[in-house]
């Protein structure tokens, strides 16, 4: 009899836990994540230190200045180090992403889906993203990631134009922050694992101060991005122009 009661209690508790998981408003979580990672009324700037470990090329370090204006869908990435790449720039203006090469002094059209400078970060990783618009949840669960209680959310793209058709997010409960993301191909093969171990709160936004992207296909390939000198100061309109990149090289 005691065993039956214990089993019933266990079933009731599990059902209650399941019900609570099912009641999680995933859309609200996704909207919050989007809101926390965008800057609709201010500009954003930071210095990024990018370290790439490649089993074939060894360890490479880059320093990049990063300017972003979400309200106009613009960003500018200016490579400062290494010396050989100094002056190279990426300018996003709406749907168009331009790459500037100071050697040829030419701008060429490039894609947000390309990897940034041979690292494991995509050019799209630096622009404002929207989980709520581009994805829908197919499952949500609760679990642990290290010491953190997290929601484990599986997402499927709502359109066929996002780089990763399937995502799996580990989102801390309070505050809601993406701690880990797994990005899958159309054939549902793991392509990349992203870790966001450290955030910094600036105004209403949470900015990942450290990001680790691991290539799931190329053994041993990993990129770590660390942000410093973070600022939400208003930038001049001239920053997001081609002539600014050209001038920066003089």
């Amino acid at each position: 009899m005691r065993r039956m009661i214990t089993a019933l209690i266990a079933i009731v508790l599990l059902s209650a836990w399941g019900a609570s998981a099912a009641q999680v408003d995933v859309d609200a979580i996704l909207r919050t994540l989007d809101k926390q990672s965008t800057f609709p009324s201010t500009d954003f700037s930071a210095k990024m230190t990018i370290v790439t470990e490649d089993p074939n090329k060894g360890i490479e370090k880059q320093v990049v200045t990063f300017f972003r204006r979400d309200k106009d869908e613009k960003y500018l990435l200016l490579v400062q180090e290494p010396k050989i790449q100094k002056g190279q720039g990426y300018l996003l203006l709406g749907d168009s992403l331009w790459f500037y090469d100071p050697e040829s002094r030419n701008f060429t059209h490039t894609s947000l889906k390309e990897n940034f400078q041979g690292t494991d970060a995509k050019n799209s990783d630096f622009s404002a993203r929207s989980y709520a618009e581009d994805y829908q949840a197919v499952s949500v669960d609760e679990g642990k990631l290290g010491n953190y209680s997290v929601y484990i959310i599986e997402l499927e793209a709502t359109n066929n134009e996002v780089t990763y058709p399937y995502l799996k997010l580990w989102v801390s409960k309070s505050p809601l922050l993406v701690l880990k993301a797994e990005e899958y191909s159309l054939s549902k093969r793991l392509l990349r694992t992203s870790l966001f171990p450290q955030y910094v709160k600036v105004a209403d936004a949470f900015i990942p101060q450290s990001m680790i992207f691991t290539d799931a296909l190329v053994a041993g390939k990993k990129t770590t991005i660390t942000l410093s000198d973070i600022s939400l100061t208003q930038l001049s309109d001239s920053v997001f122009t081609k002539s600014f990149i050209e001038r920066a090289n003089r």
């Binding site: 089993p55 074939n56 749907d95 168009s96 059209h109 894609s111 889906k113 793209a157 359109n159 066929n160 134009e161 996002v162 780089t163 990763y164 058709p165 990005e183 191909s185 159309l186 054939s187 093969r189 392509l191 296909l217 190329v218 053994a219 041993g220 390939k221």
Partner: protein, 453 residues
């Protein structure tokens, strides 16, 4: 006339050293122009052959369509219209291939290599396996959708051997990342010798990875029976597509816009066409229905290269003419000296009844004989140099491979070029000898006989 010819020939033999030097100068010019002409003609032929291998055909039909979201994707959806167009040029082509292709990052362990992957319908494309030179594995199991044929260079870079599985990272036509798994069934020799051969897999599997229908394709490669009909066939195909569907402007790499608007239109269209080929995104200005066709030929693609080679040929011709002018000045001077040396002889010949025309003809024929001797010597020397150069194998210089055939320079001598050069040379030689010949003919016989040089 035979007597005149005999005297002219005897005269050239009388002063062999002088004749030899004059012929030598002419021969040098002939060597230069023959080598350059034969080299450029051979180079054009080699580039054409390499382009045929590289692009797989003589005429290429590509198509772009709009996805429901308005994105431009590379796909020929209207195969019926393609068949109709091909029926118009039936007999002009030997076969056609329907292909899909994309740039793929192959991954094996920690090694990666980016290569073009061609999706091939192995059942219909029976010529390709016969053309591939297998270094390892076999082409017997090509019907397996995941079978992959890798060029030697890619296999070496990945460190992969036959039987192993490689991953392929690529983008679908709509821009999503996708991963395919292929099994290497054969490693083949680089067909082009310049390291940009493609890898080959099943078109059905590649279409699945690209997000295209199983029977879809992106490019139709047309192999012509006669390469000279390339422009004619492409014009017929283009006209048919233009009459029944949307078309892109013909590719013209030498296009020069007359106005800024024309230039902008052209740049936009070409960007659209290139993005279609590479599966990229373009800003859409005017939407269209169905397939938008583009027709490109090997001549279109090669036109800048051919223009460059034409310039090289022109420079060689100018150098040849300058060399000839210098030589002709020499010939004029030599014949003026000959005139002085032979004044008494001319007087004697005139006294024996030779007419003025006869004297003039001896001089002119002598110049022609020297010219022809130079031509003959020049051709022999050029032939020897070509033989030596074509026997040298260039395997290490990959940049040169594009201009070579199996690692060798090839020389193609066109009869029209030879005849043109001989004609130019003879005309200039005659012009050079004309003044002294006329002066010799005008000498009064009595004064000539009295001359004491």
């Amino acid at each position: 006339m035979i007597t005149t010819l005999r005297i002219a020939f005897r005269n050239t033999r009388r002063q062999r050293k002088r004749s030899f030097l004059l012929s030598g100068a002419i021969a040098f010019g002939i060597v230069v122009i023959t080598l350059v002409n034969a080299f450029t003609a051979g180079m054009i032929e080699n580039i054409k052959a390499n382009f045929v291998y590289l692009f797989g055909g003589h005429v290429f039909i590509t198509g772009t369509e709009l996805s429901p979201s308005g994105r431009v994707i590379s796909l020929i959806g209207d195969d019926a219209l393609v068949k109709e167009a091909l029926a118009l040029v039936e007999g002009s082509y030997s076969h056609v291939n329907r292909r899909s292709q994309t740039v793929v990052e192959f991954i094996f362990g920690s090694k990666t290599n980016t290569f073009t992957l061609e999706g091939v319908d192995w059942e219909s494309e029976t010529q390709l396996p016969t053309r591939l030179q297998v270094l390892a594995g076999s082409l017997d199991n090509l019907q397996d959708p995941q079978a992959l044929v890798l060029p030697e260079q890619a296999a070496d870079k990945l460190g992969v051997v036959v039987g192993e599985t490689v991953l392929a990272r690529l983008e679908t036509v709509s821009g999503q990342l996708n991963i395919g798994e292929f099994q290497v069934v054969a490693i083949v020799k680089d067909q082009t010798n310049f390291g940009i051969s493609s890898s080959y897999g099943s078109i059905v599997y590649l279409n699945e990875l690209l997000g295209l229908p199983p029977d879809g394709y992106q490019t139709l490669q047309v192999f012509l029976r006669d390469i000279n009909t390339m422009d004619q066939v492409s014009d017929i195909l283009y006209e048919h597509f233009a009459n029944h569907a949307e078309v892109n402007r013909r590719l013209n790499l030498n296009f020069e816009a007359r106005t800024e608007d024309e230039r902008e239109d052209y740049v936009r269209e070409q960007r659209e066409a290139i993005a279609a080929l590479l599966g990229g995104y373009t800003e859409l200005e005017e939407p269209w229905q169905g397939t938008k066709f583009a027709v490109t030929t090997l001549n279109d693609i090669m036109s800048p290269v051919v223009s460059m080679i034409d310039v090289l040929s022109m420079v060689a011709l100018v150098v040849f003419i300058i060399l000839l002018i210098i030589t002709m000045v020499g010939i004029t001077n030599t014949f003026r000296m000959i005139l002085i040396e032979r004044t008494q002889e001319i007087g004697t010949m005139r006294a024996f009844g030779m007419q003025r025309g006869g004297v003039r003809n001896i001089f002119l024929l002598e110049a022609v004989i020297i010219g022809l001797m130079g031509v003959a010597a020049g051709f022999v020397a050029a032939g020897v140099i070509m033989l030596v150069l074509s026997s040298v194998t260039f395997t290490e210089v990959s940049v040169l491979q594009f201009f070579l055939k199996n690692g060798h320079f090839t020389f193609k001598i066109a009869l029209s070029d030879i005849l043109t050069n001989i004609a130019i040379l003879l005309i200039m030689t005659l012009i050079a000898a004309w003044m002294p010949a006329r002066a010799a003919a005008k000498l009064p016989p009595a004064e000539a006989l009295r001359a004491a040089y």
